[in-house]
């Protein structure tokens, strides 16, 4: 099976699992927000985080399907962050992936509540895994829940979001260290969480989980620097969104800090660090190895 075919199969499975947990059957007066949640969740997306989570679960020989609620939860958290990020008071985006954003369709008040509801629903969904676990493995699930909340929170994703917004408001150039702080929290944190949670649920040892954190951190940073590069080198046709937006918004990026060649060298360096940590794990996944390269090497 080719990598592309395997990725497609895994994407399909992630989509099915998300449908199982992210579609509402029990509808009452909350109809509108449930529609808005589904609209936001199923507006497309690579389902990267659920795929990563499931991959390390299998890599460490996880039993049962305790990973599935967490796969859905991870995508709900990613989605809520996009819904709130697009709000008029934030990035004020009318379109994402060629579709109207949630507030553009449902109004600003409903979009705020949709984000809140998705974040809350993530923990509600992950909490279903408690009932799927035997007593002997319950600690794996509670640890996974802790990782989820830590990496999504103020020392994780939201923390990065906050500093990013503040830096934009101030319109002062950032240092490389500050930019790395944003990339590490805003982008790496959920990738780290996905890799760590899958392994944790499978009962992997602390050292392995810690190595996966290193993998995720470096993949996230490389991914984000690649974003900086594509904003300069790609075209609107390939990327599906206007290029040159960083320059128009006077954003500090790795390209503004180090030039194109410097940024390209950094992508390679962070990717190599990720691959090195991955290679130090006691189990292997050819798919994961390949997936990391495809993320940092991507052309869109």
């Amino acid at each position: 099976m080719t990598f592309e075919h395997e990725l497609e199969q895994k994407h399909h499975r992630a989509e099915e699992i998300l449908k199982r947990y992210g579609v509402f059957k029990d509808v009452s007066y909350q109809k509108t927000v449930m529609e808005a949640m589904e609209y936001s969740l199923f507006a497309g997306g690579k389902r990267l985080r659920p795929i990563l989570l499931s991959e390390t679960f299998q890599m460490f020989h996880g039993q049962g399907n305790v990973d599935e609620p967490f796969m859905a939860a991870m995508e709900m958290i990613h989605t809520y962050s996009l819904v709130h990020d697009d709000l008029p008071a934030m990035d004020n985006d009318e379109y994402r992936r060629g579709k109207k954003t949630t507030h553009a369709v449902y109004g600003e008040d409903m979009a705020i509540l949709t984000g809140d509801a998705l974040l809350n629903r993530a923990f509600e969904t992950a909490g279903l895994a408690f009932d799927m676990a035997e007593d002997a493995s319950l600690r794996n699930v509670t640890r996974a829940m802790q990782i989820l909340s830590e990496k999504a929170g103020i020392y994780g994703m939201v923390g990065g979001q906050v500093f990013d917004v503040e830096a934009e408001n101030k319109a002062v150039p950032l240092t490389e260290e500050q930019l790395l702080f944003i990339y590490r929290l805003k982008t790496s944190a959920l990738i780290e969480a996905s890799l760590m949670i899958g392994a944790t649920l499978a009962g992997a040892k602390e050292e392995s989980v810690s190595l996966l954190e290193t993998v995720g951190r470096n993949v996230g940073i490389a991914f984000q620097i690649r974003d900086d590069i594509l904003d300069v080198t790609s075209t609107q046709e390939v990327l599906g969104k206007p290029i040159g937006s960083d320059e128009r918004n006077h954003k500090t990026t790795f390209v503004t800090l180090k030039g194109l060649a410097g940024a390209e060298a950094d992508v390679k360096a962070y990717t190599a660090k990720a691959q090195e940590a991955l290679a130090n794990l006691p189990c292997e996944s050819a798919f994961l190895k390949r997936l990391i390269d495809s993320l940092t090497d991507r052309i869109k």
Copy 2:
């Protein structure tokens, strides 16, 4: 000890616990949002939900202090809901309890993220309780976490919020059943959760937890109808906020539906239902009994 003195002591303890979990020591570039979180959390408040939670934990002879992270978590969820509720796109309130609201001080974007961060932090904080529990009682903590997420979510508080916002946007009068739906979800849900979580953490039986849900449901509804009444009968001096706002906003309330006498009779009826369920529990709390009356009988 008088009831008032006991309430003050419990309020003090709740405040201390909230300080332990809701003040950030490890500050980096997220400084502003951490300040905003603390500003929102310590802007005053009755700390009703943490007090209720701790009360049923003690009532069912809970051991240790596994209730404490949940007390803080409950107040964080309550606080995030106020921060988002006050936003310009929602109720657009500049003041709450005589203090500037979070967005009035920190800006709209920061207030959205502060709410997100508080909601996430609630689950992060409650998750600390996993490490405080012995294996034998870990299921109590995971069940408590499930209750927290269910009652705060789309079938709980957020669900009520959503329908409330939608009803206001449409400006169509509500039926009593619709109004009860809003009160039950928007107000009762977190009160139910507080009472249920305390007992669950202490290892109370399912029937007791279910009775406490009934207590919370009826207390929340009675509390909210009392709100409707005070908006008509009180004064700005006593209430600390302008009265008559429901009429100005053309809101359906129990007073518009059933008149003052009818609303007063309903408060009594829902309070009686709450007290009846409380009396059916296997353990007693004179304080809780008295607290419920003070909530539904209050003059501000």
